[in-house]
């Protein structure tokens, strides 16, 4: 059969993200891939230069609807580092709670999408039903389900009181059996295994050399997780990264499965150890200097860089999101696979084009 090039995306039933991959195939087998992005660029870095620096928290939160809290927190941490602001311990723990709730709902959403990609509609709905409980927890504690607007420079604007903490523990108790019911399917089901084991293999050395992050790197045996830097309260919670070694779509799924439980435990642990005290400090003045920070989103390491010149506006804000650096890894996974496996392999890096293009 002659070589043929055709587009995968930008709209595809399995991927609600506007990315196009130009696939060159021979005999149903992919031999070459070229990405085309840029369908939804919003110029957020430019907008951040035009906004007063304090307002950028709300702008950065809108980079992504799934990990909006983590974007806001990353921006706050960057400015706090420039301005040498010490965030109160209670705020650091609250940031961990909301970050891990974001990871929990993101991974449940992704597991649902994976189930949907195989046509497992019931499993998809069960994952998303469990996710609703997490969104309810976010809504109860922050007032919002998607864009929380809770992080501020100097801490957080909301608190979790004893009554809410008790209610959260009850909701987590309800959530646990729902996760336990769906996870075995992702581990043991024949169809899921046959579509993911040995598909889209990314060896460890390549994952590192190509700059892969998050479950894409950890599924290939790379033990890097930005939470190891101990930001917020992670340094006090005994955090260990979840690592699998096979480097295939199944390994990346198992990393997310294990991280779902880990996020659940981290929320409980942070609730148990939540220190008393203030939730924010007053921040005066304007950022003067530069800082670069890394935090861990559900999809991997997120990088923020800010340069302030002592005025109310930033000279430069740079955001580098996990999918942007996972695309080169994806281009390595696809050649050699069958056309039918492309959607699942693409899904296995959990692409977020809204983040990527900013």
């Amino acid at each position: 059969m002659p070589r043929m090039t055709f587009p995968f995306g930008p709209q595809h039933p399995v991927l609600p993200e506007a990315i196009q991959l130009k696939l060159t195939v021979e005999d149903e087998r992919v031999v070459e891939v070229l990405p085309a992005i840029g369908y939804m660029h919003r110029g957020i870095e430019k907008a951040a230069e035009k906004n007063p620096y304090i307002n950028n928290v709300f702008l950065c939160e809108r980079i992504c609807g799934i990990c909006s809290f983590i974007h806001g927190m990353a921006y706050c941490q960057t400015i706090e580092e420039i301005m040498e602001v010490k965030v109160p311990p209670r705020a650091e723990y609250l940031r961990v709670i909301w970050s891990e709730l974001s990871r929990l709902h993101s991974h449940l959403l992704w597991l649902g999408l994976l189930a949907d990609s195989f046509g497992f509609e019931s499993l998809f709905m069960q994952c998303w039903r469990a996710r609703e409980i997490v969104l309810d927890m976010l809504e109860m504690t922050t007032g919002q389900r998607v864009i929380q607007s809770t992080c501020v420079i100097g801490g957080v604007r909301r608190d979790i009181d004893a009554e809410q903490a008790a209610r959260m523990r009850e909701m987590l108790k309800t959530l646990k059996p729902q996760i336990d019911a769906v996870i075995p399917v992702f581990k043991h089901d024949y169809t899921i295994k046959s579509r993911t084991v040995g598909r889209g293999v990314l060896p460890k050395d390549q994952a590192w050399k190509l700059g892969a992050v998050g479950p894409t790197l950890r599924g290939s045996g790379g033990a890097w997780d930005a939470r190891l830097t101990g930001y917020a309260a992670y340094g006090e919670l005994g955090f260990e990264p979840m690592v699998e070694t096979d480097g295939d779509s199944y390994a990346r799924t198992q990393v997310r499965v294990r991280e779902t439980y880990q996020a659940y435990e981290l929320v409980l642990k942070a609730l148990d150890r939540l220190p008393e005290g203030e939730t924010k400090v007053k921040v005066k003045g304007f950022p003067n200097g530069e800082a670069a920070i890394r935090v861990e989103q559900p999809r991997g390491e997120l990088f923020y860089y800010a340069l302030g010149d002592g005025t109310s506006h930033l000279e430069r804000l740079k955001v580098r999101t996990p999918t942007f650096v996972n695309i080169p890894a994806l281009l390595t996974m696809l050649p050699g696979c069958e056309i039918a496996d492309v959607p699942v392999i693409v899904l296995s890096i959990d692409p977020c084009m809204s983040c990527t293009e900013r």
Binding site: L34, I37, G38, H41, G43, E45, K46, W208, K209, L210, G211, W224, L228, T229, A292, R294, E301, F303, Y305, L307, E315, R316, K318, R320, F324, V325, I327, P328, E357
Partner: protein
């Protein structure tokens, strides 16, 4: 975070040295400083970041590092599109069409945009 200033000519060697030490490119940030650009390459070198800073004149060429680290290709394409910086030899060059379209403004992240009149909306 350690910052090392290097010249354009030494960039390749400095990057290779970091890669030999098992570092990985996190990203690069381009700064428009009126007379010139400063490009900062951030490398993850366990457990911290190391920054290589390169000063480039606005009419000068900057050699791509994508031959050493393929992950740099998308990052360099983005810098080239958004700042108009002349990065040469990118392994996968999108020719200004990675993120921007024909109707997009040219070099939108420059502090003062050139009046080229070559299309684009403001």
């Amino acid at each position: 975070m350690e910052t090392i200033s290097v010249g354009k000519g030494e960039l390749g060697l400095a990057v290779q040295r970091l890669l030999d030490e098992n570092s990985r490119l996190v990203t690069a940030v381009c700064l428009d400083q009126e007379e010139h650009f400063v490009v900062k390459y951030f490398f993850h070198k366990e457990p911290d970041l190391v920054c290589l800073a390169v000063k480039v004149g606005k009419d000068e060429e900057l050699p791509s590092i994508s031959g050493l680290h393929l992950n740099a290709a998308l990052i360099e394409n983005e810098m080239k599109e958004f700042f108009g910086i002349n990065i040469t030899g990118i392994a996968l060059d999108f020719g200004g069409r990675l993120l921007l379209s024909e109707e997009s403004p040219r070099a939108p992240l420059l502090k003062k945009r050139p009046e080229t009149g070559d299309g684009g909306i403001d």
